[in-house]
């Protein structure tokens, strides 16, 4: 039972990672990051089924943090779009050294 759960979460996480790596659109990348967080949450839940409830407490924390992160991240993306009329990360390289 645990093995199947972990396989599912690993698959979800990998999809999220690949999405982050191959996409150029900031919104999609953002959604992939959320997918990775969800995969981690699922892992916690799966473990808590066998090793006690501590994992479920973590899930609450992760959801709180990801909500805050979603608010801040979307605000930044909107601000960038207003400024440069694009959310393509290829065109946003202000941190170039």
């Amino acid at each position: 039972m645990l093995a199947e759960s972990l396989a599912l979460t690993a698959a979800l996480f990998t999809i999220g990672v690949i999405g982050v790596l191959i996409h150029r659109n900031a919104i999609i990348i953002f959604m992939c990051v959320e997918l990775m967080l969800t995969a981690v949450n699922l892992t916690f839940v799966a473990f808590s089924r066998f090793y006690g409830t501590a994992g479920q407490v973590f899930v609450v924390f992760v959801m709180t943090v990801s909500a805050a992160e979603a608010a801040v991240g979307l605000a930044i993306i909107i601000a960038i779009f207003r400024h440069r009329e694009t959310v393509n990360l290829k065109d946003i390289n202000l941190l170039r050294g």
């Binding site: 790596l21 990348i29 290829k90 946003i92 390289n93 202000l94 170039r96 050294g97």
Partner: protein, 739 residues
């Protein structure tokens, strides 16, 4: 002062404790107080920048009116010879005239009282006062301590006595100098350091005095620093002395490294541990002697002393003739325990002394500057002293030191009196000829009768004519060399393959030859200065006159000392024939300090028979008389022409007159290569290339390079960052799982 309580505890058992000798600290402190007072007076009126015309000192109507013509007057006279009489007397001149010589007279009085106390008690061990622990570092324990014994007492009496006379003379000689308080503050400071030098109870304290007198010498040589030549002469003296001080320091390090003590009592007690005749003790002695060659102007480091004549003449008398330059002789006498164990080092000292004596004497033959003659004469006489201490006749060396202080101070002050008169004469007629050149003098006997008589006494003394002081001391040195040549640890040793006995006979012969030359050049100086026709010029003649009593008084006292100085140590062979007084006073006085070392060198050899000694004396006197007669017969003052009309010397005479081109040789061999190496290698490659290029700019370039590489990693593309992050995570996970 604050530590008197400690002092009385530590020296409670000595026979001198509780007597006036416990005030020995006051000896150097008195001149130090004089230095502070005169220095403050000097600062008080020093102008630190352009003068403000509105200050009360410079009323345009009162003093300004008298000052202005005086300034132009002095500028016209220019750099005439020795002293530059410029503006009005210094504001605090009267106070300085009292304080400056006053502290010295007090010091001398105290020295006499302490000496009386010492005569009264039977002291074998030195009287030591510890004030505080100066350098307690690990095994190194150095106290700030004063040591009073018979040897330092001799030096103290000479320093304060002759010093006081020269201070009094300076009151007259320097009275019109604008730097009058500064002059006396330096002179007082010099006496302070000189007393520290001779009173120090260990080598480091002695070294403090040693460096201090070097500093004062520098300050006083360059006293008239407005003239670049004078400032350069001061620097030359200072730098040449540093070379010698390096040797002294190395000797101290070696002493500490090998026997772990640096105080004189400890060194004397532990010297045997170094091993008599060992290479170690020879090395220590030779390094110490290197210090002596610098301070006491011996070959090869003598070159600074003739240039040191750029200072005021009383300074030449005090520092560069009577006291400071004899510090090397004192150091060797003080280290007699070490030198007596190393025949090789002792012979080196004697050889260098003898060579210096004859070398400087030949240069003295052809000098025209009256002070340069005396400077080379000083170098030559110092050579005699080193011959004395070199052959282990430490008493003879010290005896010659004392008599030389008398007659050479007299000669220098006498020349000061001559220069004073010459300068005044040239000053009042606005003549800017050289006031120190003997070709411009001549026939001064008529105008300076007191100076004339006294300088003849000193000339006879330095030439070695009995019964003047120089005869006894010089003869004693030569006699001791002769005696050592016949049987001592030195005569059996070899020096660079030469048997010591042969070497000592050669030194004796050189000493006699130098004595002959001494008689010739001193008589030459007297003839050209005081005899024959006057060459100063008609207008100047009426201005020539004897110096005031404040200057001639000290001359008379020194003259008396020059006549009777020999009584300090009359040889037994003479007192046996003529009952002049007690014989060998100084030998017995210094017996507790250097007696053991002297006996070790002489090896208990039998004294030479009295008849032989009398023959030696007769030979010495004959040679001196021959020199004087030869000079009088050969030299014709009447044929001399004034300096500006004189033709340059030819042939070998020119070589001698130019001091064998030693200064030029040093310039070419040492100074020019040093400049060239510094400029072309040290500056261009080491400083510009290595330090600036590689180390300073190089480290900056490396940092910048790494920064450039780091900045290339920051592309600003988030996708690449994500890739790098994932690759890193996968790599780490892989590394952990593979493990």
């Amino acid at each position: 002062m604050l530590v008197q309580a400690v002092v009385d505890v530590t020296s409670g058992s000595h026979p001198l404790s509780g007597t006036i000798a416990s005030l020995v600290w006051l000896l150097p402190v008195l001149p130090l107080a004089g230095f502070v007072i005169n220095g403050l007076l000097s600062l008080n009126s020093a102008r630190l920048g352009p003068a403000d015309p509105n200050t009360p000192d410079h009323h345009p109507h009162s003093e300004g009116a008298t000052e202005a013509p005086l300034i132009s007057h002095s500028e016209e006279a220019g750099a005439v010879g020795d002293d530059h009489h410029a503006v009005k007397r210094h504001r605090w001149a009267t106070v300085t005239s009292i304080v400056g010589p006053g502290v010295l007279i007090l010091s001398f009085g105290l020295a006499l009282a302490i000496w009386q106390a010492m005569v009264g008690v039977n002291m074998e061990a030195p009287f030591i006062q510890r004030y505080f622990s100066w350098m307690p570092v690990g095994d190194l324990k150095i106290d700030a301590a004063i040591q009073l014994d018979q040897l330092s007492m001799v030096m103290i009496l000479v320093i304060t006595g002759v010093g006081a006379l020269i201070h009094i003379f300076s009151v007259g000689y320097m009275q019109d100098d604008p730097g009058y308080p500064r002059y006396f503050s330096y002179l007082n400071l010099f006496i302070f350091f000189m007393l520290v030098l001779v009173l120090g109870a260990n080598y480091p304290v002695l070294f403090v005095g040693w460096e201090g007198v070097g500093l004062c010498s520098y300050l006083l040589i360059g006293f008239w620093f407005n003239d670049k030549a004078n400032a350069d002469a001061g620097k030359k003296a200072f730098i040449v002395n540093r070379i010698g001080d390096f040797g002294f320091l190395v000797a101290m390090f070696m002493l500490f490294a090998n026997i772990g003590v640096l105080d004189f009592i400890g060194v004397n007690a532990k010297a045997v541990e170094l091993g008599a005749g060992s290479g170690l003790v020879t090395a220590i002695c030779l390094f110490m002697f290197l210090g002596c060659t610098g301070k006491s102007a011996q070959i090869p480091l003598y070159i600074w002393l003739p240039d040191a004549m750029a200072g005021p003449t009383p300074v030449s008398a005090l520092i560069h003739a009577a006291t400071m330059v004899t510090a090397g002789v004192y150091l060797i006498a003080r280290s007699a325990a070490l030198f007596s164990m190393s025949p090789v080092a002792s012979l080196t000292v004697a050889v260098v002394g003898a060579l210096t004596a004859i070398f400087a004497a030949t240069i003295g033959l052809k000098q025209w500057d009256i002070k340069k003659v005396l400077a080379y004469s000083t170098i030559s006489q110092l050579g005699y002293m080193f011959v004395g201490v070199g052959v282990g006749a430490y008493v003879s060396g010290m005896f010659h030191l004392v008599t030389h202080a008398f007659f050479k101070a007299l000669l220098f002050l006498g020349s000061g009196s001559v220069i004073h008169a010459m300068h005044r004469a040239y000053h009042s007629t606005h003549n800017n000829d050289d006031a120190q050149d003997m070709r411009n003098m001549g026939g001064l006997r008529k105008y300076l009768p007191i100076t004339w008589i006294l300088m003849w006494i000193a000339t006879l003394a330095i030439s070695g004519i009995p019964p003047f002081a120089g005869f006894f001391s010089k003869d004693e040195i030569l006699g001791q060399v002769f005696a050592r040549a016949q049987g001592s640890t030195l005569s059996t040793a070899t020096w660079l393959g030469i048997p010591g006995s042969t070497l000592l006979f050669a030194i004796y012969a050189i000493g006699l030859a130098a004595a002959l030359l001494t008689a010739i050049y001193m008589t030459r100086m007297m003839l050209y200065t005081f005899h024959g026709p006057n060459r100063t010029g008609g207008a100047e003649e009426s201005h020539l006159h004897e110096a005031p009593w404040v200057m001639t008084g000290p001359l008379v006292v020194l003259g008396i000392l020059t006549v009777f100085g020999g009584w300090l140590n009359l040889p037994k062979v003479i007192t046996d024939i003529i009952p002049l007084g007690p014989s060998e006073v100084m030998t017995r006085w210094l017996e507790p300090v250097v007696g053991h070392a002297t006996a070790q060198v002489s090896g208990g050899a039998a004294e030479i028979p009295a008849a032989n000694e009398q023959i030696l004396m007769g030979v010495a006197v004959l040679i001196a008389v021959a020199g004087i007669v030869f000079a009088i017969a050969r030299l014709k003052p009447a044929t001399l022409v004034r300096k500006r009309d004189a033709a340059p010397e030819e042939g070998f005479e020119r070589v001698v007159a130019n001091k064998y081109y030693v200064d030029e040789g040093v310039e070419r061999v040492v100074i020019t290569p040093t400049y060239a190496i510094s400029k072309n290698f040290l500056w261009r490659f080491i400083d510009n290339g290595l330090i600036d290029g590689v180390l300073v700019n190089g480290s900056a370039a490396v940092a910048r390079g790494f920064g450039y590489i780091g900045s290339r990693l920051q592309t600003g593309n988030v996708g690449i960052y994500a890739w790098v992050l994932v690759v890193g995570v996968v790599a780490l996970l892989g590394a952990f799982t593979m493990r």
